[in-house]
Symmetry: D2
Subunit: 423 residues, 4 copies
């Protein structure tokens, strides 16, 4: 049997390829000559699988799609507080190249507009970073997310630099307000290098899936950014990623996203998927016509929408088996607040006749911090009620199981031979 | 053992009760005399449990917190398309009582600002509804969500009507542009009745949990609004629910929310919880000081954040047991896209030696439409590969299991006695 | 010989009658049925002559052209300071019916937009004025300016009241901010009565000439408003009278003006003329197409432009005749700063050999306050230099000629028989 | 006798010197070190006299006060139409350094804001002008207006160039929109040179008086700019010269003006005076505190206000002497529309019994075009009525007295010996 997912993607591609309107961006000469009909789609799951169709190996310059990644890198390099001094996180309600500085602080309103992206670029690589360091940092960062060494398209960069008056205006304005230091032209040059990094839709899919996966690379498992940084980046995308119409995008599509002038589009749905689409024809707002439609279809057909997060708390409790000697409580998946709440509520109503209560954690993927604290509290209370609590956690999924009073539950030795094999 | 959730809530309440700043709204005389120190918190899970602490039985007028519910009712009564002709869904970037009409259409930008709420109120109860019908409709609708008969505080309504110049201005303006018809004063009077519905934080918790539960009441299971309506309402709350600072709220709290001038706050996190808070001291933006802090705490301490939706696809595949005669594939929880994808990807790699493949759906809560289609497609392919596919679905969780070619998988008869009891 | 001025006006009318574009205002039913081809022009000099061509006796409702007059009446009734608390004098940069309230004070930005005009109307007739008093006041005031009893068109007023939602919105908003008190609907009703006063272009010409003549009626000489009120009213017209494009109007036409939705236009050029034009076809900004063009022509062809005020100081000194016994210094026209400066500068260089200096003021029209002070100071200095100063001022044009030290110049007795006859 | 005007100015200076609030501009280092207490006032009449008090010989950098002069020079070099393609003439309602570009054309809204001034500077010296040519042009132009060779303060220019980020931002933005061409940094450098021209308040007084005198230098009589250019420049000053509060300035002061960040202020009242004030302490809007107050005083005390243009038409008719042989009609001053209208209206009512009508033009200063046309038309009609018309115009004040039909009035030979001497 072959999974039908690629065929679903192909169907979406077929349905959207007919959209012939829109025009290739013409204000950057090198982009103006792009083939308007190239079209590729990739979808990566947080479990590490990437599906793709169309021109999925075609490289294109990342342009504004680099903005969330530069923001994530700057957050990593400088911390949320320092970055927040330089750039806000409010929707601007304006076009991508508007100035949109906040009234008093003169901070750019968010990192997804050019002013904010230039200010963000200047934060890369830490306090004393040289222009070269900043470019190296973002290239290395994106390469790690993509899982391969990316390169910069020098001819695109040169072409953009020749028509960079608006970005130079922004940089001078930011310098004027003290939002950035250094040489205005160097910052713009570095920012244009960032925009000229070459990617494929498969790269974008994996990069988006990393953000969707709380910052952990879905294939290598490497924690490239911390969960709070991933969350902040996704929030910025949700608030300000799509030019204009943030609310409409939110309700109609509901996938945090960022589009770029070369025709690329990145989507990232927390806990679910990363999406990469490429089609150079743009609508009046500067979003890729087909890429927008692809997202609309994925949201409508596949229920990929931020507000359609399904009830998943109840599946955390895999089962309870009450024996004479022991009552085995099995958990599974990711244990966060609502899952732990289900477990504790269930235990609360249990009549436990056996002297021992075993928590079988073999199928737990991960404990969120709150889930860990709640389950440990439940164990502590069972101990207080006179039960003997045993932990069956051969992989140590529940770190540091201190019950809060310096005592620890007993650990089951690895003697069970016949475990049900993990899927 | 007692679940520690109430104690967690109490801790949050204790930490926030010290926030003494902010002032009771004074522009409505009846609200100005409110006790500023009342404080209650409720949290309802989509599984139907409500926890609450503090003044959790104190009734207060719902005020602007009624806006998302009126929007949901109007969407239900008129449909998304008709409502979209009257009111948009974009953040306004302005204070709650600003006019914020769209430039060309003169639609109010969203249903969370007063202009939009007045226009939304006028849609209630269908085409020919009288002013009385509209008031009856919203009262009945909110009562169903709360699970009890709510009432209108007539003295608050009278007090607001006496100082309703701004809302009258909005209503006349909307009439001027043809956004609403009828008598301007009657609409405002009805809207003020809507704002004067009395609720408790426990009511708000359950009402929010219904939205979070795709429109199905978490206790009664009644589908009060359709999933698309619930999604649209949550989207509107996320885009425009909190006055000003939508992006900051998004990143720092990440719970779609709506606050009201009496000090109430509603939160609703899809798939997880509904939240109700009440504390009348307001900050300069008109949000309850303590209620905002409570949400911040719940988000930070309990990981309740839209962008922290955890990976849950992998738990859908409960297990695969390969026997000589049959291979049993067990699913569980809610099967949507990412879950179905995990299942199909897993089957793809299986070497199936048995003639029969059984899909055990006894622990499945629900199939999302895309999940149903994908699993059926998987079955169809297994049949094409020469397998005999059997469905073990005693409760009919998978509706109309047509394999797409008019054939159906075989249904396992209800003969197995010794099932593992469902939790 | 007949003066060619009427023929000039006829030529302007003939040139502009061909402008067929524009449409009659349609949002007020009663205005929508107006004959679009009616066309009249009147021009009144500050000396009291009125020239007119076309449909110069056709009455039409004054509409927004009433705004400067209501402002002048309110300034007269309440004083500049009190009026300034209620309404500003800044251009709004917005369409006539925008809200345009100032950010902090919530004052309407100027009295020429509807919000400001409604607030101004409420000031009419003094503190305790009833709605009826306010209507009576503006009708009486406009009648005095026009020099005949004007009436209100009740069918126009009724028609406007039926579609007054926007003005009602403005009135409620103003009440909300405490800018106006009383009943919102009564104020709007009174304001609509004001807009329904019937005038002809000849009326407007004379009314405009009164403002141009520092508030003195050019025919009767009655001082209807004080010079500061006339000045303030003209300033408001210059800053905000023409919808949009204040700067363009200023540079291209340069005549303080106010247009109305019925197609009327008032112009008033200080010291020179009042203008009334009527043609109901409006452009997109709501200004009469032909009336705007008429003003353009009058400005271009006749040099009627605020910035073309000609040097007139030098004509104030009619002549100096040095005789053996007396030196006669003759003044004429209006003596303000630049005129008095010319006189004093000239005297300064004179070698006066005669014992007596006579100031012949028989041809002086009027002394501005500064002119009076300067000429008296010159006389005082001549006395200090040892001269005998005599005043030939049979009509008492120079009031209270106190030389500043309690002494007065000698007055020439009316004995000269053979004066040159005054023109 | 000495004219009291200098003493009036001294009194104004004494009254304003006490205003100690405000601070020297600090964003340009070289300006920050200015002596805050320097204070000078100059007033120049259109007749060519300049009065001044205080630090009237102190040079300071002209800064933004150069803007109207650069605009006048650009209008002269390129024509109104070409300049209008580059810069508008609408008030911006914003601070001096806001971008304020028009929505569609991207033209700066007016030449008085920095964006407009930079765009205007680029127009100087004609199509192919080099950066050096532009600087030379504005220096030469201002020198001619001032009547002496001005110089550029190189240390101020260098200081401004080092902190020119905002102007560089504006220049890049203007280049981005194609409003300006050439190198952004060169334009800004040239503009800063323009701002660094050194002037005294006496210079500004004479420069302003030239604009007030329809472009003719009040001392030399040289026509430095054409009357339409002077008018357009004054209109721009009136519409947008004072930062913020254009309407308030208009009503309270009523003198077209322009202020600069070094503390200079230029005023120009058509037909009357030019004003120069210097005092470096600035208010929050960037206007000199004392200079603003000086203008207020000059307006209030001396009636120098655009809306106080006095009736001057009536003085044009000096007198009519009816003799047996000839009727002599004497004119004087500047004959524009209202003056000619008075003359023609008077003749119309005359019963002329003599065969000859003499027009005595010996005291006429100048005919405005409309005045010339009207008087000639009057003569033509007298001829048609059978009169013999004779012109007594020894200085040829009435150019080309063609009666419209190829005939000319008879010219009186220069035989009269005993003319009354011209004042």
């Amino acid at each position: 049997m072959r999974t039908p997912v690629p065929e679903y993607l192909q169907e979406v591609l077929n349905d959207c390829v007919g959209l012939g309107e829109g025009a290739v961006a013409d204000y950057i000469p090198e982009l103006a000559v792009a083939d308007p009909d190239v079209f590729g789609i990739a979808l990566s799951t947080v479990d590490g699988r990437t599906y793709s169709v169309g021109d999925d190996e075609r490289e294109f310059s990342i342009q504004s799609v680099s903005k969330p990644f530069a923001y994530a890198a700057a957050l990593t390099d400088r911390g949320l507080e320092r970055v927040a001094q330089t750039v806000g996180i409010e929707p601007s309600g304006e076009a991508f190249d508007e100035l949109s500085l906040e009234t008093d602080s003169h901070r750019p309103k968010n990192p997804m507009i050019n002013a904010g992206a230039i200010a963000t670029h200047q934060l890369l690589g830490g306090e004393g970073a040289s222009p070269r360091d900043r470019t190296d940092r973002i290239l290395e960062f994106c390469s790690r997310l993509a899982g391969r060494q990316l390169t910069i398209d020098r001819s695109v960069a040169a072409s953009e630099l020749a028509t960079a008056d608006r970005n130079l205006a922004l940089a001078h304005l930011l310098r004027n307000y003290g939002v950035i230091g250094g040489d205005a032209h160097e910052v713009v040059s570095g920012y244009i290098d960032q925009c000229s990094i070459l990617v494929t839709v498969r790269d974008l899919g994996v990069m988006g899936a990393t953000l969707a996966n709380a910052g952990a690379h879905p294939v290598t498992g490497e924690q490239i950014v911390s969960p709070p940084v991933a969350r902040q980046t996704l929030s910025a995308m949700a608030a300000a990623g799509m030019y204009n119409g943030a609310g409409t995008w939110f309700s109609e599509v509901g996938i945090p996203a960022k589009s770029g002038v070369s025709g690329g589009l990145l989507g990232s749905l927390p806990g679910q998927v990363g999406i990469g689409v490429f089609s150079p024809r743009l609508d009046a707002q500067g979003n890729s016509v087909r890429a927008v439609e692809v997202c609309r279809r994925l949201s409508a057909d596949m229920g990929l929408h931020l507000m359609e997060a399904e009830t998943y708390g109840s599946t955390v409790l895999r089962g309870v088996v009450a024996g004479e000697d022991e009552t085995v409580i099995s958990l599974q998946g990711v244990v966060q607040f609502t899952g732990a709440e289900v477990v504790l509520d269930h235990i609360q109503d249990l009549t436990i006749d056996s002297p021992t209560v075993v928590f079988d954690l073999q199928r737990v993927d991960r404990f969120a911090d709150v889930g860990r604290r709640m389950i440990l509290e439940g164990m502590r209370r069972l101990v207080l009620d006179g039960n003997r609590v045993v932990l069956d956690d051969p992989e140590g999924t529940l770190p540091d199981p201190d019950l809060g009073d310096g005592t620890y539950p007993e650990l089951r030795s690895m003697t069970f031979a016949a475990r049900e094999p993990r899927v």
